[in-house]
Amino acid sequence: MSLQDLYQEIILDHGKSPRNFGELDPYTHEAEGFNPLCGDQVRLMVRIADGKIEDLKFSGHGCAISTASASMMTQLLKGKSVEDALKLVDKFRKAMTEDGDHGDMGELGCLSGVREFPNRVKCATLAWHALKSAVTTGGKVTTE
């Protein structure tokens, strides 16, 4: 496993210039994700209407992996139904933690290198956990 596989160009790009970064106003759901071991912190704000994610943004600070993952997630989920979004969360979590073929992950496929760095998996999934928490419980979530 090489660093180039982990830090693919697209990850570095999203890490440096995250999309949908900032405060969302107004929003209907929010959650915070915190990884106490590396200090990664993400605040996720989501506006849901008619069971659909109209818009979502995130703020906070984190490593390249967690920032890129959050950034790509927001791009991917904007406009999706909550139901589809939750399915994608599960699919992504599985792709990060379980071996085997996880089908076409689109742009997210560039995060597949993370699986080879087990202690970075929490970084990649932090925003996704937060999203799930936001739309299901609307609460705070910590991933450790």
Partner: protein, 410 residues
């Protein structure tokens, strides 16, 4: 020639774990503040105990138990001697520094603190010297107040003196060496200030043991907590020094076998220190390994080690400072061999991953010092910490790997 006066290569040869490759390159182990590697002598002394003398202690009547008891008490004496305690009875074996600090906060704090009392805890403390005080404060109503630190990560002694003079302070909790910034705190001076105002000083010497010659009497410290695994000893063993007059008046912490005089369902009487504070079967093998680590500190010379480590840390700081966007945290006048830094381009977690791919083992994160991170205005740092076996090649490997970070993220 290596900096300092150590024969680094022969010292290095004593550590089996150093001689391995990770990611296809030789290991550069710079995570010593988390835990040091162990010399063969420490590993062997534990083995020998298990292979020859293994028995429970508490003065069993058979020979293995007598040997084990003697080895255990000899280890206590060796440690007491090394840290300059007035008597062996002032040394309580614990499972580590954290347990020692919990013991003090619960037993001394629990029986001596009240609603109007304050414990001053430095902003650079490790969670293990903060949270136990918060727990005791919750139980007793006492207050925990942070001692501010300067931008250089030094104690604000003026503030401390002024705050002590205001009264109500019962204890001052400080570390002797900071595990993030390397700051060597003026313990003797803090003890003098504290005592002048009737407060005790509780010293976290987790990093101190391997990086300075500790003398609890010279410090005039009241409690000092140690951990073996950060000073070439095994895991699962540490020690708490407590002034005799204090220990004698403290209630037990954990209870069970070995620390009682008599037990009935009506009444239980407790033994004298140090037994009073050592409930259950002690970690005899651990104590023996700890004593062997003390032998190692003495044989190689802890002051020579400290000088050597400081040279390496200074060199590392110099080299790293050449890198634009890299910031060293902690510019104390007196520093031990620990260097923390952040980079504008890369988060510490990414830095750590890249360094690991070049065989350089560092710690990234908050280092169990979240209030210090908040004070420094960073979520985390990357920390390189040096031990007696590190050399200038290790510094170069660190530098070169950081350059790779720069290249990747810059």
């Amino acid at each position: 020639m290596e900096p300092g006066t150590l024969d680094v290569s022969s010292t290095r040869a004593e550590f089996p774990a150093l001689h391995q490759s990770v990611s296809g390159v030789p290991l550069t182990y710079l995570d010593n503040a988390a835990t040091t590697q162990k010399p063969q002598s420490v590993i062997d002394s534990v083995d020998e105990f298990y292979e020859q003398d293994n028995a429970n202690v508490h003065r069993g009547v058979h020979q293995l138990s007598q040997r084990a008891t003697k080895a255990y008490e000899d280890a206590r004496a060796a440690l007491a001697n090394w840290i300059g305690a007035a008597s062996d009875a002032e040394v309580v074996f614990t499972k580590g520094c954290t347990e020692g600090l919990n013991l003090v906060a619960a037993s001394w704090g629990g029986s001596n603190l009240q609603g109007n009392d304050t414990v001053l805890v430095s902003t650079m403390e490790h969670h293990s010297n903060i949270v136990p005080w918060q727990m005791t404060a919750e139980r007793t109503g006492a207050k925990v107040e942070p001692i501010p630190i300067t931008d250089a990560v030094e104690l604000d002694l003026e503030w401390l003196a002024a705050r002590l003079a205001k009264g109500g302070v019962k204890a001052v909790a400080v570390k002797s060496v900071c595990n993030v910034s390397g700051t060597v705190n003026p313990i003797k001076e803090v003890a003098r200030l504290a005592h002048e105002h009737g407060a005790l000083i509780v010293v976290d010497a987790a990093q101190g043991l391997a990086h300075q010659k500790v003398s609890v009497q010279d410090w005039d410290a009241d409690f000092v907590a140690f951990t073996a695994h950060k000073a070439y000893g095994p895991m699962g063993i540490g020690a708490l020094y407590g002034r005799k007059a204090l220990l004698e008046n403290m209630p037990p912490y954990q209870t069970g076998g070995g620390m009682v005089r008599g037990v009935t369902f009506e009444k239980t009487n407790f033994a004298e220190p140090p037994e009073r504070f050592e409930a259950g079967t002690p970690n005899v093998a651990g104590a023996i390994g700890f004593a062997t680590a003390i032998d190692f500190l003495e044989r190689v010379g802890v002051e020579a080690m400290a000088r050597h480590e400081n040279c390496l840390a200074k060199l590392a700081e110099e080299r790293l400072s050449e890198i634009p966007g890299l910031k060293i945290h902690g510019k104390a006048k007196h520093k031990a061999g620990i260097v923390s830094f952040t980079m504008t381009e890369a988060h510490p977690h990414d830095v750590g991953t890249v360094l690991d791919q070049y065989g350089v083992a560092v710690r990234t994160g908050h280092h169990c010092c979240m209030p210090l991170m908040a004070r420094l205005g960073v979520p985390a740092t990357t920390r390189a910490s040096f031990a007696c076996y590190n050399n200038t090649t290790d510094v170069e490997n660190l530098f070169n790997a950081v350059i790779k970070v720069k290249e990747l993220f810059g």
